[in-house]
Symmetry: D2
Subunit: 286 residues, 4 copies
């Protein structure tokens, strides 16, 4: 006898809006970022520094992560920082560096947009627009990225339920843009030994409710570099369609989030391990 399959809708106790709803669409959505397909059998790895710092930094990192199998480059030009006195990113200068390194290496780039007034500018340089955790409830921003012709990486708010996360995605789809990748990146709980609590159960739950691809961010999800490898492997085992991870050639000198960045070497080793886990769950990393 088989377990009765719950349909997710009843399981989560929530009401799933129509455009993101798995039941109301046949088959999964594949999000295509300059030729790279997210949501198929391949587990897509996105890697790069927290913040764009210089051409040299970005080029070295990009070449190294590409050689090890990353398919998309990440890097922040506008950084949402808790304190006004922390490094806020290079702004448009950072976007130009991202475009330049993307052209050189062939890796598409994803970068965060914080302000509705910057969307046109960011869209000029980036291949994929990221809406970060702090902006998951920023509805004007969601509507605006929904009007662009760019794929969107939508991170779960650190305080957002699964239902609110799907409603945020619905804001984007409702404007005509269905190229949305959902990213679990850790929620806030009482536990303080990690920066956030990476909620890996969100991966199977979301995949049961929506046709959109789901990836995980073990760097922000843990906040600690040595915890990234086990949690990255766990995310792939749980069914993630991809991972986004912070990598820096010298974490100790990173202008932001160095404590959660992998070195280039550690990233290379991790990729080998991830290939084995992906195969064990009938996926692959090329």
């Amino acid at each position: 006898m088989e377990s009765k399959k719950n349909d997710g809708r009843e399981t989560c106790g929530c009401s799933i809006p129509e455009k993101v709803n798995k039941r109301l669409k046949s088959g999964p959505t594949i999000v295509v970022v300059n030729g790279i397909k997210i949501g198929g059998s391949e587990v897509i790895i996105i890697a790069g520094p927290c913040a764009v710092e210089s051409l040299d930094q970005l080029t070295r990192t990009a070449l190294s992560v590409k050689r090890n199998g990353a398919k998309i480059l990440r890097g922040g030009a506008f950084k949402p920082r808790s304190s006004p006195y922390n490094f806020q990113g290079l702004g448009e200068e950072g976007l130009k560096l991202l475009r330049e390194v993307s052209n050189e290496t062939g890796l598409p780039v994803v970068t965060e947009v914080l302000d509705t007034r910057h969307i046109q500018m960011v869209s000029k340089y980036a291949d994929m627009l990221q809406v970060g955790s702090r902006n998951m409830h920023n509805y004007p921003l969601l509507k605006e990225v929904g009007m662009q012709k760019k794929p969107v990486l939508l991170k779960r708010g650190m305080m957002a339920t699964i239902e609110e996360f799907l409603l945020a995605a619905e804001y984007i789809l409702n404007q005509g843009n269905d190229q949305v990748v959902l990213c679990e990146r850790g929620i806030r709980t009482f536990e303080t030994s990690t920066r956030n609590t990476l909620d890996l159960s969100a991966i199977p739950m979301l995949k049961s409710l929506t046709h959109l691809p789901v990836i995980a961010d073990p760097s922000h999800g843990t906040g600690i570099n040595w915890m990234v490898p086990p949690m990255a492997k766990a995310a792939v085992a749980a069914g993630a369609d991809g991972l986004i991870m912070e990598v820096h050639y010298n974490p100790d000198e990173a202008l932001c989030d160095g404590q959660q960045s992998l070195t280039l070497n550690d990233f290379g080793k991790l990729m080998n391990d991830l290939r084995k886990v992906a195969e064990a769950v009938d996926r692959n990393i090329s």
Copy 2:
């Protein structure tokens, strides 16, 4: 260049008591339950019903999970239930059934003890004593199991920090019993789509701080049977030394927690998948 390895102590921001502290002991602790070793290279699977209901139920389940590779049988005789009007378990009658089925099948048994007055009785029948999530802060109970010559399965309180969890284990070790297995079983957060939030990051965090084995309970951690397989695989990928899972030959008729129980068939399939994941992370399930 390698990441600087954090030592855990600083990472978790907590102070680790001496007897559970990994730094103050050379090598991991292997917990032996009637010959079954937890904490070595093999990932140990504990399976069985939420509650002992009858000889027939327990025997059928035990034989089936054993055939599929489970090494220890679980089953509750004293059940901590939120409502006084719910089934509270068979009590000593349940313990006798556990012993009988253990003797028949050769599977050691683990069962929960709720009350200091029952420890002698439970110890007479069980091979391993479980202290459940609701009793992680029950210090008289911790001291009492620390005085027994039985291995202990200590579950994390649903709102216990990593530091409090380790202090609870310290209570047991401090009485002279170092045969303690720690079990992550889901914490309580704002998210309501799952019963609890299985905090898999607790696995690498605990393993960096203590020499004790660490396992996971994806049944209570999710509360939903179809989520058990992905989360079980994720736990093994994250480095768990074992898993404890609820299995019932007819979940729809289970006297407790049927909605989170795997069928016998589903358990068999999952075991095959788990073997592949275990190998991918250089572990094994025999």
Copy 3:
């Protein structure tokens, strides 16, 4: 012997930025909204509907709450709603109604701004700009309201720590605008019987750390209209410098948040009760 007074800084375990820091300024900041002073001995009551719906609705409500002692009128023209299919507010039309009713009644108005592109427009009509809970981490918005010559009502993010809340205020002060009122409006916890958990301990904690005025929002803090009176009284007893509450002449027909709105009658009764509590803690409501 007196208790040794903790200085707050050590107590909260956090680092308080300089411009909001109570220690680095002599005396409290009084925020003046069109002549109404927040932060002095009077407890200032802000009241009005969740959303501006019509001239009639707003006028009736304004006249009634004014008669009962409210000093500022609230009303949303741009509403941040979890679902794209819910009423999103009347937009500029709503702002015009707010201005009209303000001019008629003499009550200054506070309304929320969601989008950096709307700040000039909202500033044209409103006496005070509200940054809502979902935008507490929206740094471009914080910077932009910091550049206006308008007082700001900054709500605590529903999962923001005290430290993050003060850092968000620092973003505003750092742009030259020190007319900021902090508002505790409920945090997200595991408890589901209320919409949020109104964290009244934030009031004395914030007042020990910063010179800015602190008010509470028992309407969002509980989400249930009959809980507003006891929690409003509790907030005043805990030392709040003011309250913001939702009032509707017919909650059952409100276009948003009717279940947490007081009727005009209930508001009148509550004001009488609040006057007594204010006096009991050496404050007053005129």
Copy 4:
């Protein structure tokens, strides 16, 4: 027009068991502790040290708090401590001191019981049995105190929902003992500036659902002595039937929880303030 009164049952979204249910009993339950009535118009103050340390400490504290209006003395003889290396209480010796000071001063005493094996012994000395936060889910203990002829002070688990809290009380009433006082003492949230988050909304919510008296513990609820007065006043304003507070004649030398203890002087001042707040909400403190 009046707000439609929600009946609580629907509001909390939970199912309230029969014996604690307000709807199924006419009028509130008055709990009588050696002549002191909790649940009537008087707000009852319980005060005393965290732990019983010596006859001198207890006598001085008892005489002082009695003079200032406290009606019941608290003091721990068995202390549940996170670490096995912390002071665990004086045990039966502490109980004898409590009895002695009670007899001298005429103040009834409440003290915590941790272990089912100690209930007879504790009952011999105490006028009221406390089940602490860590034992709210300890069902054997709840059943056992339900079989005693002593009033019970049941503290909310730091991780317990309102529904679970009422179910725990139901365990006691179901054994025939309806003399149960519920105590909100702070829940665990993400916020770390206070020890716990005192959930004052639990007071009106519980009072709408059950006929049992409800009190608050601002000492554990905040963990910081200077925060006790504002939160004590807030609790009374929110409708609490009483307060329990830690008082020590020299907090700096207290064997436990000194940082949250009031001095004798501070307690005296607070009592004067509380009388005014109680009157403002039509209650009294004699």
